[in-house]
């Protein structure tokens, strides 16, 4: 077995037992990247030298008996919108080319500085996290390791592909309407979107700030729980982060789930959900029942309005969040500086933002404009609270909700890029979770007839990451497909 075929927690044991050194692990990881990156294109920038340097220094510390943190030098791939001090962080956008943040995001401080993970590079994404396929990147798409003609999902497509191909052991993503769970589903890996406020957003470059949340993308549930334990908690620099005890998620995983009540929302199995997806998800539910969990029907009656609501809110917020990119303070300006300051701002933004980002800025600006604000933005906020209530009601009856993550498996590169509406509808099962602000986990539960992974979504009540990780872990162990590597990962082109 190659090192990259192991889970993170197994590698930690090997390092502790001196079966493996940290530099060996990092070397092998860059070797793996060299093997696969040409076809996958998961990364937008690598930090090989620094990573190897840190590996050596951690190794030395370890030999001298110093504490090196809980992550023992595991490689971490960072999504290209989480700030790493001095490292280019570009949101896969032309407008932030050569931008080197002068500070670390909260999560980088925790995982890398404090607990000894090694940042190996930044992964590809849809520009400013706007998309479900990673095709909207200024660097071009990331391909799916299971079948390279297909998308890796989005917007954290690079992260999903890097995990499923063994290029890294740990990855960070961000999820605004499904951006962690969609690539996790399409790439057959584990993706967790925590409760809004569980993880500090300080240093996460905003797309839609009332929806964004950082979360882990990993090979298995245990690694996800381990990362979340470290990343969670109150950060005084993020007012929306919540001061609430962080559970020992890893210690809760093996608890039996026989008393759990799982809610099955009929709307999540409706029209548009692929038959093979539905049947795989239903089979997984049967497995959970065989482990003793009970199932009941629940309803999220406002699901049909979620895509419209979600897009109104995220575009409105994006139109304001992305206003700062004018080329004046950082990033770059248009080469043509003629005219007044407004001409230069407009030209810079017109040239340097991609078409999807521009589309969302236009629509969001429109939705917030005088005369339309009440009709669109205010109405969307009202529907958002109805959707929230739907979930609150459902969680009065059940512990967690189970359903598909995506209504379909990975589609072909280029298949939906000219049909933005179809692309938006693909978020229908993930974005209600962001509107409600609750946590959700996606784990692989099987494959369709093309051999493409199918994602199983477990949605939890506010701050019940413990509960969904527990169910996810039990299902993962029962299904026992989590060690299956994507074909691209086997070295085949």
């Amino acid at each position: 077995m190659k090192f990259y075929e192991y889970m993170g927690y197994e590698l930690i044991e090997k390092i502790k037992n001196k079966e493996l050194s940290i530099p060996e692990l990092i070397e092998s990881c860059f070797h793996r990247i060299e093997e696969t990156e040409q076809i996958l294109h998961s990364f937008v920038a690598l930090s090989k030298e620094k990573a190897l340097e840190k590996a050596k220094s951690l190794d030395k510390d370890l030999e001298q008996g110093k504490k090196i943190g809980q992550l023992y030098g595991l490689p971490l791939a960072n999504k290209d919108l989480i700030c790493v001090k001095g490292f280019p962080t570009t949101c896969s956008s032309k407008i932030l080319q050569d931008y080197h943040p002068p500070y670390n995001a909260f999560v980088i401080g925790k995982l890398v500085e404090q607990e000894g993970a090694i940042h190996i590079g930044n992964t590809n994404m849809d520009e400013f996290a706007m998309g479900s396929s990673t095709e909207n990147s200024c660097y071009g798409p990331t391909y799916n390791p299971w079948e390279i003609s297909r998308v890796s999902g989005g917007s954290s497509g690079g992260a999903g592909a890097s995990i499923s191909s063994g290029q890294t052991i740990l990855a960070l993503g961000s999820d605004t309407g499904g951006s962690i769970r969609c690539p996790a589903s399409f790439c057959g890996v584990v993706g967790l979107k925590p409760t809004y406020g569980r993880v500090s957003r300080y240093g996460l470059i905003a797309f839609a700030n009332s929806l964004d949340q950082i979360g882990p993308i990993t090979k298995c549930v245990y690694d996800s729980a381990l990362m979340l334990e470290i990343m969670s908690g109150k950060d005084p620099l993020d007012s929306t982060s919540v001061d609430m005890k962080v559970d020992k998620y890893t210690e809760e995983l093996s608890k039996p789930i026989e008393k759990k009540i799982l809610g099955i929302p009929k709307e999540f199995f409706g029209e548009g959900v692929d038959n093979e997806v539905e049947s795989a998800v239903r089979k997984a539910i049967d497995k959970l029942e065989s482990l003793g969990a009970k199932t009941i029907d629940v309803s999220i009656p406002h699901l049909e309005y979620t895509v419209a609501t979600y897009y109104l809110i995220c575009m409105s917020e994006a139109s304001s969040n992305l206003a700062r990119y004018d080329g004046l303070r950082y990033g770059n300006m248009s080469d043509n500086l003629s005219g007044d300051v407004y001409d230069v701002f407009s030209r810079t933004r017109g040239e340097r933002f991609g078409p999807e980002v521009r589309r969302r800025i236009y629509l969001g600006t429109y939705a917030l404009s005088a005369g339309y604000y009440d009709m669109f933005y205010i109405k969307a906020l009202k529907v958002r609270s109805l959707i929230k209530n739907d979930f609150v009601e459902a969680f009065n009856k059940c512990d967690s909700i189970v359903c598909p993550t995506m209504p379909l498996t990975a589609f072909k590169v280029g298949e939906l890029i000219d049909d933005p509406l179809q692309m938006y509808i693909a978020d229908v099962l993930t974005c209600p979770v962001n509107l409600a602000g609750i946590p959700a986990l996606s784990i692989p539960c099987g494959f369709d007839s093309n051999g493409l992974p199918i994602g199983f979504q477990i949605i939890g009540d506010y701050f019940d990451e413990k509960g969904i990780l527990n169910i996810g872990y039990q299902l993962e162990q029962e299904l026992n497909i989590y060690r299956k590597m994507a074909p691209a990962a086997k070295g085949g082109k």
């Binding site: 240093g203 929306t240 303070r329 005088a370």
Partner: protein
């Protein structure tokens, strides 16, 4: 309300920096940016770097609460912020974090008032609201905006806490506006939230109309002093247009303080749409009654209460006490002074007030200084009053030495420096003494009954010598002369 022809209607939006805060509104950079190297007081938050988030300065909430209480406004239970979206090079994020009282938003506090007095008429200027917001960066031009080949941006000011006070359109003249701002400045000073004497700490927008006609909004009035000027100009401009039968347009105008005119910036149809919407990076701050009570209990004495107390404690007139309390530092100076000498009574209280409000204040105004900018110490005014009352100097001389006292010199030092050395030549003083006795038979007569009348004679000698006579020797000589004349024994 009277419906006079050409009745003027003015509403003010006053932005003041809370200069007494240590840090900016949403980050921990120093608030005290004045004089600092450009772009040295900045961090990812106040220059709006990608990924940074605002975190509220709790002290700013306390300061705003203080002001809201002092202005008698209604503080909202839940404080939240809105984004005001517009592109401008002084904006680090191209939106300003502010508060809004529409679109589901609420101001920091609603209502309130300031009572002004003009020509002994009292009037309540009703406030619409107060709210908090962040200051944009400072644009620096070489020379004037029009001729500068470039614009420099200094983000040291970016994110400094502003509080905006919005009046109802109830101000009827530039003089009322002036009085309103005077009182506001005083209340801000007493609340210990800001020093509005700092350059750039105040910016005013004014809505002006002639009743029945469209209003204009004059922006960019950068000091309280300019407000009255800008209002006067704008009223004349509007009235002249009406006189010529023209229609007034609803428009935004810019106050050009160099040329002292207002210039049209844009008309109504080109008004910016700020797309206000909630700032979700900040969670609502709950303000409970307990907090308000605590701030109230700790609130320093306000000018109005102080004026009442000064009237009572020092027997001052309402006019005097109202004027005296306007500047807290002056009022503190006053109380320090009059309380430092046990011999002082109502006459001296009044004298001290007069010196302070006339000669000292006039000098400060001329120099554009505050009392704390000078080295003047209250005991110098105490000495001055004693010198006068003891006849050592005349009021006329006293007036001439005030300037030097501002530099911190004592009266005796000044008199000496001015070449006003004491005359201790007994022969010479004898001569002056005899002259004074001859010239003032009535006072001399008075000396028979009133032992204090001798002071008046000594005073006359002092006057003749322009205060240079040695008071001790003069006294001895006068006693001797009066004894010789058999006036006293």
């Amino acid at each position: 309300m009277s419906s006079q022809k050409n009745e003027v209607v003015i509403g003010l939006e006053v932005h003041i920096q809370l200069t007494n805060l240590k840090t900016k509104l949403f980050c921990s950079c120093s608030n005290n940016y004045r004089g600092a190297e450009p772009n040295s007081y900045v961090c990812p938050i106040c220059i709006g770097l990608p990924g940074s988030l605002p975190a509220i300065n709790k002290k700013a909430i306390e300061f705003a609460t203080r002001l809201a209480i002092a202005l008698n406004g209604n503080i909202n239970e839940s404080i939240y912020f809105f984004r005001k979206n517009y592109f401008y090079p002084d904006m680090s994020k191209n939106f300003q974090i502010s508060q809004y009282n529409k679109a589901g938003g609420k101001a920091f506090a609603d209502g309130g008032q300031i009572t002004i007095k003009l020509n002994s008429h009292k009037k309540d200027i009703i406030l619409n609201r107060i709210h908090l917001e962040e200051d944009p960066a400072r644009l620096v031009h070489k020379g004037s905006i029009a001729t500068s080949p470039y614009t420099l941006v200094d983000y040291n000011r970016s994110g400094v806490c502003l509080i905006e006070i919005v009046t109802e359109p109830v101000i009827s003249s530039p003089e009322e506006a002036r009085e309103f701002l005077k009182q506001l400045k005083s209340i801000v000073q007493y609340s210990e939230i800001s020093n509005l004497d700092y350059e750039g700490s105040v910016r005013v927008d004014a809505n002006i109309s002639i009743r029945g006609h469209e209003r204009s909004e004059v922006k960019n009035i950068n000091s309280f002093r300019e407000v009255e000027r800008a209002l006067r100009h704008e009223i004349v401009r509007q009235k002249n247009l009406l006189k010529r039968g023209k229609l007034l347009a609803q428009e935004t105008r810019h106050w050009d303080d160099k040329r002292r005119i207002t210039i049209s910036l844009r008309t109504k149809e080109f008004e910016a749409d700020y797309r206000y919407f909630p700032e979700q990076d900040l969670v609502p701050i709950e303000i409970d009654d307990e907090f308000i009570q605590k701030v109230k209990d700790e609130l320093p004495e306000m000018p109005r209460e102080r004026s009442i107390r000064l009237r009572r404690d020092y027997n001052l007139s309402e006019f005097d006490s109202d004027n005296l309390v306007l500047d807290k530092d002056i009022a503190d100076f006053y109380e320090d002074g009059v309380n430092s000498d046990a011999s002082f009574g109502p006459d001296e209280y009044k004298q001290f007030c007069n010196w302070l409000m006339n000669d000292v204040s006039r000098w400060l105004n001329e120099q554009n200084k505050t009392i704390n900018d000078t080295k003047l110490h209250p005991h110098q005014i105490v000495d001055l009053i004693k010198y006068i009352n003891e006849g050592k100097i005349t009021t006329k001389i006293a007036k001439t030495i005030i300037k030097d006292m501002m530099e911190g010199f004592s009266i005796s030092e000044i008199l000496e420096k001015k070449g006003k050395k004491r005359i201790s030549d007994e022969k010479l003083l004898n001569k002056f003494g005899n002259e004074v006795i001859e010239e003032n038979p009535n006072i001399v007569k008075d000396c028979r009954k009133n032992p204090k009348a001798i002071e008046a004679l000594i005073g006359r000698v002092m006057a003749k010598t322009r205060g240079q006579a040695d008071p001790h020797i003069t006294r001895a000589i006068m006693l001797e002369l009066l004894k010789e004349l058999g006036i006293i024994t």
